[in-house]
């Protein structure tokens, strides 16, 4: 890890980690009477750990010029392992929350284990920990391979990866303590948000610098999706987190918008987080790993570009469908509803494009569970985008909103689309990165596939049922015009569905553990030298420059 950095980069890395450690100490001192102080210590010990790793490898021999003849894959490897670790952790918490809803005593009377604090640990751990690390890792791979260029330096990818994980750690350690902005999917407080901006701008710069070294003028479409993800998430994150801390020694802040403007900003962010974090980035993954795994070019490259611009321009306006029947003006709701309906066109264009790519390769889908992961992901992408457009219709929303149908919809997307495409991509990527002939056990990939699919289906069907039952119970009137059921009646009716959901989640979680074991064993199994991909090299023309460039 440290041995791949040049002396110069080790100096910079050292300065950065010491500076972060000092920031942590300042936070701990200034916020000693506040929860900010606790997070100061988290930052301090995190940076101390990084400094320790640096110090241990500080006197390792420098990498020679031969490094320019190969892609820089070290941070990708760590990113894949981090993504799988976050997946195991956050899916465990997710299933705990699922059982908690069926059996409320599972909080053990501890405030930190209440639903409101555990749930954001699950969502942040999955979206940002698992999804974010997987996106960073695969984007580093895709951008280098499609550009035929090595990353411009060795330090900035590490800064992005480790810095991003510091943000994730601050987020999930904050919730049990009670630190939250109370904005869904944007819970971390102002100092963590500022840190993420620094990391994210470095990420964008690194991506653009690598693309600038490419040989072919045309940029492969997967990169467009990854870039849209990076750029738009930066904009969303900054605008939605505009807030004033009550003081520099306090973790608490208040947003600069208020009332319905704040709600609209939040859901403009929230829905576009789904669009650009959980969709655009993973479509980038799909447009690269599905064709390469199937060994067939994408069915229609033109269609992939049309879908790209369709998704980019339509998604921006769809957020207001989260605020149907609220104080938000009716016309803004209608705007969000109409754009959500139009979104079905580019979404199905992408899903269809992926499935048509497999025409002629269905025997591979049958034999190769890795490709099947990606095929089923494309199907779920089609299903959940259809469902999303449908739920955005105002009268449909009057039945579905505030019910478990929403949870079912989100998980059809998160489990069926996001997680399955990620597992497919990671199973494709691991043998390439570690130069293995194949994954340790294809049989275990099959096991993982069927556990994940069964888990997703059980989960989604349970939530569809409970959501619609809830929605109908809440709107059933008696002959005398009063509500037929109390709210508690609907809670009791949910119990069997909640147990089914928790079982579905458990299957999915077990599949992930099996997957992590398989990946770990692939890494641990000795290298097959004959299979070493001797020609897996970037173009050396640009990379042949003498010393390393200083880091960002």
């Amino acid at each position: 890890m440290v041995s791949t950095l040049t002396k110069n980069e080790r100096h910079f890395a050292f300065i950065i980690s010491v500076a972060v450690a000092i920031c942590g100490l300042v936070m701990a001192a200034a916020g000693r009477n506040d929860l900010l102080g606790t997070h100061g210590f988290v930052v301090f010990f995190f940076a101390l750990g990084v400094t320790f790793i640096l110090a241990r490898g500080y006197y390792d021999p420098e990498p020679g010029a031969e490094r320019f003849a190969a892609y820089y894959d070290e941070p990708i490897k760590v990113g894949v392992i981090l993504a799988m670790s976050w997946a195991v952790f956050a899916m465990f918490v997710g299933d705990w929350v699922a059982w908690l809803l069926a059996y409320p005593t599972l909080t053990f009377d501890e405030p930190w284990a209440s639903f409101g604090r555990l749930r954001p640990i699950h969502t942040t751990g999955i979206i940002f920990g698992f999804g974010g690390n997987a996106l960073i890792a695969t984007s580093f791979h895709v951008m280098q391979r499609t550009s035929r260029a090595r990353m411009p330096d060795q330090l900035s990818p590490w800064f992005v990866l480790i810095g991003y994980n510091l943000f994730c750690v601050l987020a999930v350690t904050g919730y049990p303590l009670g630190i939250t902005q109370s904005k869904e999917y944007a819970e971390p407080e102002w100092y963590a948000d500022i840190w993420l901006v620094i990391v994210w701008v470095t990420y964008l710069a690194l991506y653009l610098r690598t693309l600038a070294r490419r040989q072919e003028p045309h940029i492969y479409v997967a990169n467009w999706y990854f870039l849209a993800f990076i750029l738009v998430v930066a904009v969303l994150h900054i605008v939605n987190n505009l807030a004033l801390p009550i003081s520099l020694s306090s973790a608490k802040s208040f947003p600069i918008f208020s009332g319905v403007q704040d709600a609209m900003t939040q859901w403009w962010y929230g829905h576009n987080a789904v669009a650009f974090f959980l969709t655009a980035g993973f479509l980038g993954m799909m447009y690269y790993y599905l064709p390469t795994r199937a060994q067939r070019p994408i069915f229609s490259y033109r269609l992939s570009i049309i879908s790209f611009w369709g998704i980019t321009f339509l998604y921006m306006w769809a957020g207001s469908h989260h605020l149907h029947y609220t104080a938000l003006p009716q016309w803004v709701q209608t705007l969000g509803m109409s754009f959500s309906l139009m979104l079905l066109v580019p979404s199905w264009a992408s899903a269809g494009n992926a499935l048509l790519t497999l025409n002629g390769a269905w025997h591979r889908v049958r034999d190769d569970a890795t490709l099947r992961f990606m095929m089923v992901a494309a199907v779920f992408y089609g299903v959940s985008t259809f469902e999303g457009s449908f739920l955005a219709i105002r009268p449909v929303n009057s039945l579905s909103h505030y019910t478990d149908w929403t949870i079912g919809h989100v998980h059809a997307g998160a489990l069926g689309w996001v997680a399955l495409i990620t597992f497919g991509a990671i199973y494709s990527l691991v043998p390439i990165l570690w130069k293995r002939e194949r994954i340790y056990s294809p049989a275990l990939v099959e096991v993982h596939f069927w556990l994940a699919l069964a888990g997703t289906l059980i989960y989604v069907f349970a939530m569809w049922n409970s959501g619609i039952v809830q929605g109908l119970m809440w709107r059933t009137y008696t002959a005398s015009g009063t509500l037929a059921y109390s709210f508690m009646d609907s809670v009791v009716a949910m119990h069997p569905y909640y147990i089914a959901r928790a079982i579905g989640g458990l299957l999915f979680f077990v599949g992930t553990v099996v997957g992590f074991y398989n990946i770990w064993m692939t890494i641990r199994t000795p290298i097959n030298v004959a299979r070493e991909l001797a020609t897996d090299r970037p173009v050396t023309e640009h990379a042949g420059a003498p010393a390393a460039e200083p880091a960002e």
Binding site: E216, V221, F313, L533, T535, D536, R537, P538, V539
Partner: protein
């Protein structure tokens, strides 16, 4: 806060907003269907299939 009336916003979205999105769709359709771009797209689509095997050229 800047005071923008409801009518102004609706007016903008019905005039400028409409033509902005139509113009974008036309521009994208022209770009993808432009005959000279076809070879570029075909090359790009195939380029990723062997990129663990060696550099371009």
């Amino acid at each position: 806060m800047i005071d923008v009336s409801h009518e102004t916003l609706v007016g903008i979205s019905k005039s400028y907003g409409l033509f902005y999105l139509i113009a974008l769709s036309v521009a994208v359709a022209v770009y993808v269907c432009w005959p000279r771009n076809k070879s570029k797209f075909d090359r790009a689509a195939k380029s990723i299939l062997n990129d663990e095997d060696g550099p371009w050229r």
